[in-house]
């Protein structure tokens, strides 16, 4: 077994016990990247030199007895996270040469925790997309089958963790961009409560929906990263005051007598029969573990995509206005079709005379969707559903049908609209060996409970131990 296949927990133990060094660990990750990145296209930039340097530094710190939660652990960053002195492209030609002057708050926190950054991962340009194909740096491929999409927009981050190129990677989730690729790649993905992790320094997609999360191999590792990234930030006015919490305390408490709801609107139409079967299996697992399963209703779910595709492009059209060709070296003609589509959509929905009919109405729906969840959480502690109505699809299959592509987010967007947290965990495979994931949703600030439920499921099923066969 190569070191890059370890979980964070295992790697920390190995480093602490001097079984190997951070340089060994980092080298194994870099070797894996070199071997497979040309086929998978998970990274836009690999920062080999910087990585080995900080690994060396980490080794020295370990030698000196320093203890930091991620000391010497190789991680990757979605190329939407500003990194001082390292190219940050948003996978768009507009920013292909942009080098930020500052680190995003999360990047600073991860560095302060001792993490070794191995590179910047590929994504759908500006985080616009559900498949990972919409990158100006070429599509990312699914390591489980390279003819299939890895899911997006945080495609490269999910793939880099699934294929053991690093031990964890960051992502952003505006409508499902962490959960979808995590379910398509058999890794754990967290979309935290809106405002619980600082957005400062992360290139904005839709500011009122963007959540900053990450990919790991296990739920416990997920909690470890979250413990570092979460918290109020003076540079982000939307961050929530946050008390320190011990996320490991309840991790192994199981799900006995925890009430878990199945939103019936999430499992009716459009669900792939095989997805439905695997989801039922997951529900049974929870029931066998002692959870109380009940059906709940979220009646406004059906308006989720419609509301999302008004609010999100509206904000996108404004957030992308700064790339006006005056700075950053590349003009507006460098925007791809999807960005242009969203800029036009959003400009239209915000125009005077249309604002009330579109944006304002969508905001009212937003309130109704929030209320739906509030009511559901009066009856149950958590909700579960498939992350996506289907398995990963073939590269190119939906690329010319934006609407079809948008519908793959049908089960994820309402979580962003309501601002609640959701944890995606591996839940099995199709008969063609394509991964499937479920999401566990809770009320605001309930990440602790989501880790407890997710960990219980993971310990019972062990899907995470299965790895893609890379050649």
């Amino acid at each position: 077994m190569n070191l890059n296949q370890l979980t964070i927990k295992e790697a920390r133990e190995g480093l602490r016990n001097k079984q190997f060094s951070s340089v060994d660990l980092t080298r194994d990750c870099l070797t894996q990247i070199k071997k497979h990145n040309s086929a998978l296209n998970a990274f836009i930039s690999v920062t080999e030199e910087e990585a080995l340097m900080s690994a060396k530094k980490a080794d020295k710190s370990i030698e000196d007895g320093t203890s930091l939660p991620l000391l010497g652990i190789p991680i990757a960053l979605k190329d939407l996270f500003s990194t001082k002195g390292i190219k940050t492209t948003a996978a768009s030609n507009v920013l292909r040469d942009y080098i930020p002057q500052y680190d995003a708050t999360v990047v600073r926190k991860l560095k302060d925790a001792g993490a070794v950054i191995v590179g910047k991962t590929n994504l759908d340009a500006w985080a616009h997309g559900s498949s990972g194909e919409n990158s100006d740096f070429g599509p990312t491929k699914n390591p489980w089958n390279k003819n299939f999409v890895p899911g997006g927009s945080s495609s490269g981050s999910a793939v880099s963790v699934a294929s053991d190129m690093c031990l964890a990677a960051t992502g952003t989730d505006t409508g499902g961009s962490i959960r979808l690729p995590s379910s398509f790649n058999n890794v754990v993905g967290l979309k935290p409560t809106y405002g619980r992790v600082s957005r400062y320094g992360i290139i904005a997609m839709a500011s009122s929906l963007d959540s900053i999360g990450h990919f790991t191999k296990t739920v416990e590792d997920c909690a470890t990263i979250f413990n570092i990234t979460k918290g109020e930030d003076i540079y982000d006015a939307t961050t929530l005051p946050d008390a320190t919490e011990d996320f490991y305390k309840n991790l192994n408490k199981g799900v006995k007598r925890i009430r878990i709801g199945i939103p019936k609107e999430f499992v009716v139409s459009g669900l792939d029969p095989e997805v439905k079967l695997l989801f039922e299996k997951a529900v049974n697992t929870f029931a066998n573990l002692g959870a109380e399963i009940t059906e709940v209703s979220l009646p406004y779910t059906k308006y989720g995509i419609a509301a999302y595709y008004i609010i999100q492009p509206s904000e996108v059209s404004s957030n992308l206005a700064r790339y006006d060709g005056i700075r950053y070296g590349n003009g507006r003609e460098s925007f791809g079709d999807e960005a242009k589509r969203r800029i036009m959509l959003g400009t239209f929905t915000l125009s005077s005379g249309y604002y009330d009919a579109y944006y304002k109405k969508a905001m009212s729906v937003r309130t109704l969707i929030k209320n739906d969840f509030d009511k559901a959480f009066e009856k149950v502690e958590a909700l579960i559903s498939p992350v996506c109505p289907t398995y990963p699809w073939k590269l190119g299959e939906k690329i010319n049908d934006p609407l079809k592509m948008y519908l793959s987010d049908a089960l994820t967007v309402t979580v962003n609209i309501a601002g609640i947290p959701s944890l995606s965990v591996p839940a099995g495979f199709s008969k063609d060996k394509l991964p499937f994931g479920i999401q566990i949703m809770g009320k605001q600030l309930s990440e602790d409970l989501l880790f407890q439920i997710g960990n219980s499921f993971e310990k019972e099923t062990n899907y995470y131990k299965q790895k893609p066969l890379l050649r």
Partner: protein, 435 residues
């Protein structure tokens, strides 16, 4: 046909907070080296986020309170989207439908009330410098806090407008929230001008906004010009176009800048990066209690309390520094029985600059000046004449350059007068005569 002008005003006041509106960069940009007061936030770099400046919000509310506005318990920031090279984010953070302050008023000397529609908070843009065929951008001013004060269309002539502007300038200076210096661009104004028929009760169907006015003098000129221009169009039976015009200093005229057809659609929507601002009543009351006495109140109190003429009271309260200085001097003057009226007169007539002389010294000067005056100017002149005539040697010495000789002459004058005179005053008089 007789027409009546209908004029409303938009005034921008730049606050003199330490830091900018949404970041911790220094807001003091005037005369600074370009692009030295910048950071990711005010440069609008990818990923940077705005965090509102609480001091600026407090000051905006204070301006609203000073203008008798209702302060909103719930308000928010909005994005005003438009493209311009001096706007690094492609939108300006402003306030659209829920400003901090609304529905206020200000009363002019003719007792006329001018309605204040709203007072809201926004950020300034960068500064463009055009030279040849290139344009340079300085982002030092980007995101400096700006308060916009909008009036109802209540003005009927330029003199009302100028009085209002002077009052507004005085108020923000009293509050200490802005220097309101028109030349430095701390205070900018945009009148909206239109004409209606004398007996008409509804507003005209058009209005002309005039930009680029940087002095009170030009606002008068621009209004006069517009009234004449619009009158001519109306007299031809046509309606003036709804448009934005600019004041052109060299042409002494307003020139068309933008017509209604290319009016901007700013696509306002709530700024998602800043949560709504909640101002509780207690907070508003606290701000109210922190406000200094305002010019109108001070004017009335000083007039009443110290029996000043309305003219003197107005001059003394013109700026807060003088008013405070006057009151301190009145306090010091009490001990030596110098009446406030005399102090006011002395400050006004001698054009006293408060930073030149402390109030206690001022009182001493008033006391001695009064004693000099008591022997009479003629009497003093006579004494000086006699002394100069009787001490020709000293006079000659002085004229040769022995300036010390004047002290000898001064001593003689003092002895002759047999009274304690203001030496400074006598010395000045002597120097005058020796010229």
């Amino acid at each position: 046909m007789k027409y009546k002008p209908v004029i409303g005003l938009e005034v921008h006041v730049e606050l003199k907070t330490k830091s900018k509106m949404f970041c911790s960069c220094s807001a003091d940009y005037f005369g600074q080296k370009p692009n030295t007061h910048t950071c990711p936030v005010c440069l609008g770099l990818p990923g940077a986020l705005p965090v509102p400046n609480q001091q600026a919000i407090d000051w905006c509310v204070m301006i609203g309170l000073a203008l008798n506005c209702k302060i909103a318990n719930f308000s928010k920031f909005d994005r005003k989207n438009y493209f311009y090279p001096d706007l690094p984010k492609g939108y300006q953070i402003s306030q659209y439908d829920q400003p901090f302050c609304q529905k206020g008023s200000i009363t002019l000397s003719n007792r006329k009330e001018i309605g204040i529609t709203r007072v809201h908070m926004e950020e300034d843009t960068g500064k463009l410098t055009h030279s040849g065929d290139s344009t340079l951008i300085d982002f030092n001013r980007s995101s400096v806090p700006l308060v916009e004060i909008v009036t109802d269309p209540d003005f009927e002539n330029a003199s009302e407008v100028v009085e209002y502007l002077k009052k507004l300038q005085q108020i923000v200076r009293y509050l200490g929230v802005s220097d309101a210096d028109m030349e430095k661009g701390n205070m900018r104004l945009e009148p909206n001008i239109s004409l209606k028929k004398e007996n008409e009760t509804t507003l005209p169907k058009f209005k002309v906004e005039v930009k680029n006015i940087n002095s009170f003098r030009f606002v008068e000129k621009a209004i006069a010009y517009e009234i004449k221009r619009q009158e001519e169009i109306l007299n031809e039976g046509k309606t003036p176009a709804q448009e934005t015009r600019g004041w052109n200093e060299t042409k002494n005229a307003t020139v068309s800048q933008r017509s209604k057809e290319d009016a901007m659609d700013y696509r306002y929507f709530p700024e998602p990066d800043i949560p709504p601002i909640i101002l509780k009543d207690e907070k508003i009351l606290k701000l109210q209690s922190q406000m200094p006495e305002l010019p109108d109140a001070k004017f009335e109190r000083l007039q009443k309390e110290f029996s000043l003429s309305s003219y003197n009271s107005e001059l003394i309260t013109k700026d807060k520094e003088t008013a405070d200085y006057f009151e301190k001097a009145v306090e010091d003057g009490k001990k030596v029985y110098v009446p406030p009226k005399d102090i006011a007169n002395f400050i006004i007539n001698q054009k006293i600059n408060p930073s030149d002389i402390v109030p206690a010294e001022l009182i001493k000067r008033i006391v001695s000046a009064k004693q000099t005056i008591s022997i009479g100017d003629n009497a003093l002149d006579n004494i000086i004449k006699n002394v100069l005539a009787g001490n020709s040697k000293a006079v000659e010495d002085y004229k040769k350059g022995k300036t010390n000789a004047i002290m000898f002459l001064l001593g003689h004058v003092m002895r002759e007068a047999k009274q304690k005179l203001d030496t400074k005053l006598v010395k000045e008089k002597l120097e005058d005569k020796l010229k």
